[in-house]
C-alpha cells in the first residue's frame, strides 16, 4: 500500500466528512428533541451558500470584472447569512412545525418535505435565484486554495485545514453549550422526556426554537464552507449533502451528537476509500457507502452510538 496516497485520501475523506458532520448535527439535534426528521435542513445549507453569494453581489464586493479580496469582508457577509439562516430556522419551526406539534408525527414529516421542496423549487424561480449554477466568489479569499503543508507527494490544502478546524471548533462550542450550560441541560432534559421536562418548568417552545436556530446556523456554516471548497452554487446543491448527512446521523445513532460527527467522518472516509481501493470504485462511490450503511444498521439497528431503547408494555 502506498502510504502517502492513503494519507492524502484520509485528508480528502475528513474534509468531506467535516461538512457532512456540520449538517448531520442539525438533523440529529432536531430529532433528539422532537423525533422529527427535518427534511428542510439540507436546504437551509443551500440558503447559507446562496445568500452569501447574493450578499457579495448586492454589496458590490464581486462583479463580473472586479473582486474585492478581503477576508474580513467575506467573514462579515458570511456571518450575516449564517444569522439569517438561524432566523429562517426559527421561522420554519414557528410557522410550519409548531402548529402541528400535537398532531401525528407523519403530518410534520410531510410538512418538512413540503418546506424542502418549497425552498428548492422556489429558489429555482428566475426572480429568486434561478436554476443555473453560479460561481461562488472564492477569489475574495486570496490564497485559500494554496497548500498549507507540502510533504513530498502529500498536500494539505489551506481550505481543507480551515474546514476541519472550523468543524472541530464549532463541535467544541456545541458540546460546551449542550453539556455545560443551563440551556443545554434543558435541551438534554427535553430530548430525554418531552412532557416530563415541561412539567419540570422547562419552556419547551424556547428550547425547540434554540435547537432549530443552532442547527440552522451550523448548516449555513457548512453551506458556506462547501461553496468555498466547491465554488458552484445552485438551489439543488443541498440535496445530496443533505441526504448523506442524514445517513451519517442515522449511521452514528440518530439523536446523538457525537454519533453524528463520527458517523459523518466515517462516511466521508468510506466514500474516498471506495474510490481508491475498489476496482472501478468511483462508479459506485455513493452506492457502496450506502450498502455499508445498510449492513451496519442490520448488525446494530440503533447506529454506532445510539442507545437501544426497550419498550415496556
Amino acid at each position: 500500500m502506498n502510504l502517502p496516497v492513503f494519507i492524502q485520501q484520509v485528508i480528502n475523506g475528513l474534509s468531506v466528512g467535516s461538512i457532512y458532520a456540520l449538517i448531520a448535527v442539525g438533523y440529529t439535534m432536531v430529532y433528539g428533541v422532537l423525533q422529527l426528521i427535518n427534511f428542510a435542513h439540507g436546504d437551509v445549507f443551500m440558503v447559507g451558500a446562496v445568500l452569501t453569494l447574493v450578499l457579495a453581489r448586492s454589496l458590490g464586493l464581486v462583479s463580473p470584472d472586479h473582486v474585492t479580496q478581503s477576508w474580513t469582508a467575506f467573514a462579515m457577509i458570511a456571518v450575516i447569512s449564517i444569522l439569517a439562516c438561524g432566523v429562517m430556522g426559527y421561522l420554519i419551526e414557528r410557522m410550519a412545525y409548531r402548529p402541528l406539534r400535537d398532531k401525528p408525527r407523519i403530518n410534520s414529516l410531510i410538512t418538512a418535505i413540503g418546506i424542502s421542496l418549497l425552498l428548492e423549487y422556489g429558489g429555482q424561480h428566475r426572480s429568486v435565484f434561478g436554476p443555473t449554477p453560479q460561481a461562488f466568489p472564492v477569489a475574495m479569499l486570496p490564497g485559500i486554495d494554496q497548500p498549507l503543508i507540502r510533504f513530498g507527494e502529500l498536500v494539505i490544502n489551506r481550505m481543507d485545514a480551515l474546514i476541519l478546524l472550523v468543524t472541530l471548533a464549532l463541535m467544541g462550542i456545541l458540546s460546551y453549550i449542550v453539556m455545560r450550560t443551563r440551556t443545554g441541560l434543558a435541551l438534554r432534559a427535553v430530548s430525554y422526556r418531552f412532557d416530563t421536562a415541561a412539567l419540570m418548568g422547562i419552556n419547551l417552545n424556547r428550547i425547540i426554537s434554540i435547537t432549530f436556530v443552532l442547527g440552522s446556523c451550523l448548516a449555513a456554516v457548512a453551506g458556506i464552507l462547501y461553496a468555498v471548497k466547491y465554488p458552484k452554487v445552485e438551489p439543488l446543491m443541498g440535496l445530496l449533502p443533505g441526504v448523506k448527512a442524514f445517513v451519517a446521523a442515522v449511521f452514528g445513532g440518530i439523536g446523538n451528537i457525537t454519533g453524528a460527527v463520527v458517523g459523518a467522518m466515517l462516511l466521508g472516509l468510506v466514500e474516498v476509500m471506495v474510490v481508491q481501493y475498489l476496482p472501478s470504485g468511483s462508479q459506485y462511490r455513493d452506492g457502496i457507502a450506502f450498502v455499508i450503511l445498510i449492513v451496519i444498521l442490520l448488525v446494530k439497528p440503533s447506529g454506532l452510538f445510539g442507545k437501544h431503547v426497550v419498550e415496556k408494555v
Binding site: P133, N157, Y230, L239, V275, Q276
Partner: protein, 386 residues
C-alpha cells in the same frame, strides 16, 4: 361551507388566469409565419449552451426576416422552450412545440443526452429535427427525421487523442469522465479507442456523477498516484472547472484535455487560474480569420452588447440558416418535404464551415483546438475532416 369559500375563489382565479394565458398564445399563432421550434437549456447546469444557441438562432432569424423571409415573403418565427438542462423536460418541451404550437421543424438540443431523449418524439411525429451541436453518434443513428449540424464524437475523440500524442508528445494518459452522460461516456470511449489503436498507455480510468458530484479529490488522488502526463476530462464545463481546481490543489501540474463540452465562459469563471494550460476541442474559434466567421462575430457582438460568441452560438446560427434554406428548397412547410430537403443539404456556406449532410445525417466539419492561456481561450490548431 364558509371555510370552502376562499379556496373556491382561489381555484376559480387560477383557472381564469390559465384561460387568459392560453388565449394570449393561441391568438398569436395562426398568422402566416413559418414556425420553428427550438428546445434549449436556458437554465440549469448547462445554461450557457442553451442561451448561446438561442442567441445564435435568433440572430439568424432576424437576418433571414430582414432579407425578406422565406417561401415568398413569409417571416420565420422561432418559439423557444426551456428544458432547464433536464432530459425529461426536453422531451416534454419538444412534445409541446409539435402538438400545441404546431411547428414545422425543430432545432435543438446541444447536449447529446437531451437530443437522444428528443429524437424518438420527432421521429414518431414525423417532424424534422436538427441538432446544432450534439456530437454523440447515437443522436441520429437509425432515425429518418433527425439531423445534426456538427461533427461526431468518433472524429472528436480521435482528434483529442491525436493532438495529445502528436502535438503535445505525451504517452501516459488518465480518464475522468461522467458516468451518467451519453456524451461523456461516448467521447471517453472514442478517445480510448484511438489510444489503444496506437498503443498509448492508459494508466487510470475514473468516473464521476454529473450534476450531483462536486468532490473529485478522491478520484484525482488515485489518478495522481498512477502518474499520468495528461487527463482527459470528457464532461461539461461546470465539472471541468471544479476538476481543474481540485487537481491544482492536489499539486498536480498536468494539462487536462476536454471536448466541446468545455466551451463556456463558466469554465474560466469556475476554474479560474487552474484551467490555464488546459486544452479542448471545439467547433470554431472567434479568432479564426475566415470572413464568414468574422462577419458572424461582428453581427453577434452588435446584437448582444459586445458578447463574444462561443461555439454553441455559431452552431445555433448555422442550424437556423440551414433549416431556413431547407424549408425554402422544400417550397412548403410540409415536414416530409423539409426532411428530404435537409437530407439533401450540400455545401451550404455556413459560418462554422461548409456544411454537407451525409447519409448518416451528420455534418463533417473541421475541429479547432483551443488552449486556455492567461484566462482566455486561444486558437491553437485546426484539424480538417478526412
Amino acid at each position: 361551507m364558509r371555510q370552502w369559500l376562499p379556496a373556491t375563489c382561489l381555484i376559480c382565479c387560477v383557472w381564469l388566469i390559465g384561460f387568459v394565458g392560453c388565449d394570449k398564445s393561441s391568438s398569436s399563432v395562426g398568422s402566416n409565419d413559418v414556425l420553428v421550434g427550438h428546445v434549449a437549456s436556458l437554465n440549469g447546469d448547462t445554461a450557457t449552451f442553451g442561451v448561446s444557441a438561442d442567441e445564435g438562432v435568433r440572430l439568424a432569424m432576424d437576418q433571414i426576416n430582414a432579407a425578406g423571409g422565406i417561401l415568398g415573403g413569409r417571416k420565420v418565427r422561432v418559439i423557444t422552450e426551456d428544458d432547464r438542462s433536464l432530459g425529461d423536460e426536453a422531451k416534454t418541451a419538444v412534445n409541446k412545440l409539435i402538438t400545441r404550437d404546431q411547428v414545422c421543424a425543430v432545432l435543438g438540443e446541444i447536449s447529446s443526452s437531451r437530443s437522444i431523449a428528443m429524437a424518438p418524439v420527432c421521429e414518431d411525429m414525423k417532424i424534422p429535427m436538427l441538432s446544432p451541436g450534439s456530437t454523440n453518434p447515437k443522436v441520429t443513428q437509425g432515425y429518418e427525421y433527425v439531423f445534426r449540424n456538427c461533427f461526431i464524437d468518433t472524429f472528436q475523440g480521435e482528434a483529442m487523442a491525436r493532438f495529445a500524442i502528436e502535438d503535445l508528445k505525451l504517452k501516459r494518459f488518465a480518464f475522468l469522465y461522467p458516468i451518467n452522460s451519453d456524451y461523456g461516456v461516448g467521447l471517453r470511449n472514442y478517445v480510448a479507442e484511438y489510444l489503444n489503436k496506437v498503443g498509448a498507455e492508459i494508466v487510470a480510468n475514473e468516473s464521476y456523477a454529473e450534476k450531483t458530484d462536486s468532490d473529485f479529490k478522491a478520484q484525482l488522488t488515485k489518478i495522481k498516484a498512477a502518474n499520468p502526463e495528461a487527463i482527459f476530462v470528457t464532461g461539461y464545463y461546470t465539472e471541468a472547472g471544479l476538476i481543474a481546481q481540485q487537481a491544482k490543489q492536489l499539486g498536480m501540474n498536468l494539462p487536462l484535455i476536454g471536448g466541446d463540452g468545455w466551451d463556456s465562459d463558466k469554465t474560466l469563471e469556475i476554474g479560474r487560474e487552474a484551467v490555464n494550460g488546459c486544452f479542448f476541442t471545439n467547433h470554431y474559434s472567434p479568432d479564426e480569420e475566415r470572413p464568414e466567421v468574422q462577419a458572424f462575430v461582428s453581427a453577434y457582438k452588435g446584437k448582444y452588447g459586445g458578447k463574444v460568441p462561443d461555439a454553441m452560438a455559431i452552431l445555433g446560427y448555422d442550424a437556423m440558416k440551414i433549416m431556413a434554406d431547407a424549408i425554402s428548397r422544400a417550397g412548403s412547410t410540409d415536414p416530409m418535404r423539409i426532411r428530404d430537403a435537409l437530407a439533401a443539404t450540400k455545401d451550404f456556406p455556413g459560418a462554422s464551415g461548409k456544411t454537407t449532410i451525409d447519409k448518416d445525417h451528420n455534418a463533417s466539419k473541421a475541429i479547432v483546438i483551443i488552449e486556455i492561456k492567461n484566462g482566455q481561450f486561444t486558437y491553437r490548431a485546426k484539424i480538417e475532416p478526412k
